[in-house]
């Protein structure tokens, strides 16, 4: 199909105004893409500094104070300005209306407003981090953050607070869109799983983010006015902060990972050319994760001085929340069975996700077991576990999704060989970076240490070597994606031969998405779709 001079959402208008005041969900998605890419590389640069510094036991290049500020910046930027929003605001924004057969989200102007809120929060937060930063860790534990830490704690907190409202608005927008704007015939159990995961994520965003807002507001009040909510010297309770903080921040890890699971559930059937295995089970496990995920926050506090009984209950619930994740893994593998598997870059990322997420999940069972947690918590074991889920899992899924929908979004194919190479390099670099950290944690090396006893050096150097590869591998897509924008082959409507309404329209889509509202008469993942074979040969 030659789409050269066809009218689409990209060619519609090219003024700055037409971008900054757009209410088109596709353009807003691109605004978000640009923003979170900047945040990702900012957080990544901080990570590179951390790994570089830890090559030597006494620390290679930063003072203790500087190191603390750098890892705080890494955490704050990556969690709030990349991981939490990443998938919903970019791929979700772009794809959800297309998958639903809608012309836009339910509230296009609210969508644009969310981006402005996000940018305001991001700029305030990052400005504070550059201005001198904070050395509290992204967790802001009290009374350290309220009474002892120097730096711009309040300003960073304000940045996160503002971007939280962006999260809430985005979540609301998705919930209402998915309820109201489904095409005729697109019943709940005909929805792609990506939609279900965005829906579940949105529910968590709307319910949990206000708790974060309250917590951060109290933190700021305490720091400014010494009101005595968290500081025991003023009659407060430092554990109260941890309860409130994790009541948001544990569900937040599901905000981060669920959309990733949704992407993988799209990619695997598309490249196995086979209907997804256990469609409804994946959906119900998504809902189960979203619900149970609200009741496991106490597992962050097993050694913090909470009661024995609460520890036992939270341990049990933490095992319970792992079950639906296991169900998903089995179903993805079931989907591979008797498929016709193609190894394009998105599939490599998706398979990498399944493997790394499984490792991340299983090591979570170590720290959910009460007695084992005593030895492993607050060490590098936790760092490794968390990064296997968040980087190995979520970031892999995000990259997979970007490759998968890149032809739809830009109308161009990315260079497939480069894509595959980057995927393999990321997988390798990631494991080399984080696997040694499991061993460090088992040996007892505490996290957040700017210097460490020399017996931990070998594993630290290995980890830093891996980080170098990982950093290079993350830069590759930046290069070849940019190249493909100008020189990539024109993308056909459905390059992968995939199902889903988004593949029935031209690439890139026209501004109004669908000229006539589509009618859905089929179950999802009906592989092979009519007119089946991929129109793109790598």
């Amino acid at each position: 199909m030659s789409a050269t001079l066809e009218r689409n959402y990209l060619t519609e208008q090219w003024t700055l105004r037409s971008w900054l005041l757009t209410t088109d969900h596709k353009r807003i998605a691109l605004l978000y893409f640009a923003s979170i890419t900047v945040f990702f590389f900012l957080g990544g640069a901080a990570a590179a500094l951390i790994r570089l510094h830890l090559i030597l036991p006494q620390g290679a290049l930063l003072s203790h104070e500087m190191y603390n500020r750098v890892f705080t910046m890494h955490g704050v930027v990556m969690v709030w300005f990349f991981l939490v929003p990443a998938v919903p605001v970019t791929l979700g924004n772009f794809i959800v209306p297309l998958m639903l057969g809608a012309r836009d989200l339910a509230f296009p102007r609210l969508n644009l407003f969310s981006w402005y809120l996000f940018m305001a929060g991001g700029i305030v937060g990052v400005a504070a981090l550059f201005w001198g930063g904070v050395d509290t860790g992204w967790t802001f534990y009290t009374p350290l953050a309220t009474d002892y830490a120097r730096g711009h704690v309040v300003m960073v907190v304000v940045g996160i607070f503002i971007s939280g409202f962006s999260s809430i608005a985005t979540g609301l927008n998705f919930i209402i869109t998915i309820h109201m704007l489904r095409a005729p015939g697109l019943r709940w159990f005909r929805l792609p799983i990506f939609i279900w995961t965005i829906y579940a994520t949105s529910i968590i965003l709307v319910l949990a983010t206000p708790v974060l807002a309250i917590t951060l507001a109290l933190l700021a009040f305490e720091r400014i006015f010494h009101v005595g909510v968290f500081d025991p010297a003023l009659g407060g309770d430092p554990l109260l902060f941890q309860h409130l903080f994790w009541f948001y921040s544990h569900p937040a890890v599901y905000i981060m990972i669920l959309p990733g699971m949704g992407i993988v559930s799209e990619i695997i059937p598309a490249f196995a050319r086979r209907e997804i295995f256990g469609y409804k089970f994946i959906i119900w496990s998504t809902v189960a994760i979203a619900v149970i995920g609200f009741f496991v926050w106490g597992h962050h506090m097993f050694v913090a001085g909470t009661s024995l009984y609460s520890s036992i209950v939270f341990s049990l619930l933490s095992y319970a929340v792992a079950v639906p994740s296991a169900i998903k893994v089995f179903n993805w593998i079931g989907t591979l069975h008797k498929g016709s598997i193609h190894f394009d870059a998105p599939m490599l990322y998706a398979l990498g996700f399944v493997g790394l997420f499984t490792i991340g999940g299983l090591t979570g069972l170590f720290v959910a077991a009460l007695a084992a947690d005593v030895h492993l918590t607050q060490t590098y074991f936790v760092v490794a576990h968390f990064h296997y889920i968040m980087v190995g899992g979520m970031v892999s899924a995000f990259f997979g999704g970007v490759h998968y929908w890149w032809p739809k979004i830009t109308g161009r194919m990315y260079p497939e060989m480069w894509g595959r190479m980057a995927a393999l390099l990321i997988f390798f670099g990631f494991n080399l970076t984080f696997f040694p950290q499991f061993l460090l944690g088992m040996q007892g090396m505490p996290r957040r240490y700017a210097s460490y006893p020399p017996e931990f050096q070998v594993l630290n150097v290995l980890s830093s070597a891996g980080a170098t590869i990982l950093a290079a591998a993350y830069l590759l897509p930046l290069g070849y994606f940019t190249w493909s924008l100008f020189r990539g082959a024109r993308a056909p409507a459905n390059p992968w031969g995939a199902t889903g309404l988004e593949w029935t329209m031209p690439s890139p889509p026209p501004t109004e998405n669908f000229a006539t509202t589509p009618v859905v008469t089929e179950r999802p993942y009906a592989y092979p779709p009519p007119g089946a074979e991929p129109t793109h040969a790598p």
Binding site: L144, F277, S311, A326, I333, T358, T379, Q443
Partner: protein
Amino acid sequence: MWPLPRPASSNAPELDALIYGLLVMTVAVLLLVFGLMLLYVVRYRAGSTLDRGSVAEKSWRFEITWTAGTLVVFFGLFLWGADLYVRLFQPPGEALKIYVVGKQWMWKVEHRGGQKEIDVLHMPVNTPVELLMTSEDVIHDFSVPAFRIKHDVLPGRLETLWFRADETGRFHLFCTQFCGTDHAAMIGEVDVLSGPDYENWLATAPSSGDLVAEGQKLFMRYGCSGCHQAGLAGGGGTVRAPSLNGVFGSTVPLSDGTTVQADDRYIRDSILDPSSQVVASYAPVMPSFKGVMAEEDLLRITAYIESLAGGP
């Protein structure tokens, strides 16, 4: 090389068994997951002409099987971890008490005989030790990987942690809760000595005087003896305030109808925040000593009250 450091405490072997058990389960599941993935992507790669036949119907049978399987295994692991936790981390009846105060960025340790040390903790081998820990500023965490112990040390609260070292030697003591600039420098050592060596160390280490004796003096100086009977002397009877003879370790009835076990934390809380737990049949007239009594005096008076456990 084993992934876990050499165990050196009584609770380490069982805890290690749990971690290795989890490791075996993890490896087994990973072999299954990666094995199946590898098998399928090779067998069912696009180029392979293998007959795909019909895709399995009745997927719910598989679903029920692996859901139930996972539930059973996970529940077993939960029970293992929880049972061990409950057993290992309940303090034994008799233990040597050592006081630990965390402060940005050092560990202050004090023994019953008044011996003080910083960033080092001397203790005897094969003896249960109970640490009574609090912080002067932010939250710290007392962690010794070789003993597989770790517990947060909070300001304004007394936390306890017990263990028994089975080997003599020096072991890393880490602060594992991020506590500010020099968090990474808040490293100390636990020096486990043989019985005679420990006695020897106690005798030669500089001391500020026996805690109980010091506590008795402070008990007078702070005016506690004005109301509370303690030992044979002191106190205006039991009219305004309960006698402290035999209180420690007993079950105390409170004015709200509940009871409380009188341990170090209770004594401490009653001094700092007397109105929160008022003994039954007494009026809440005692003033708070919060901000008045230094941490070091507090532990001395508590030690003195503990010494009255057996009555006068």
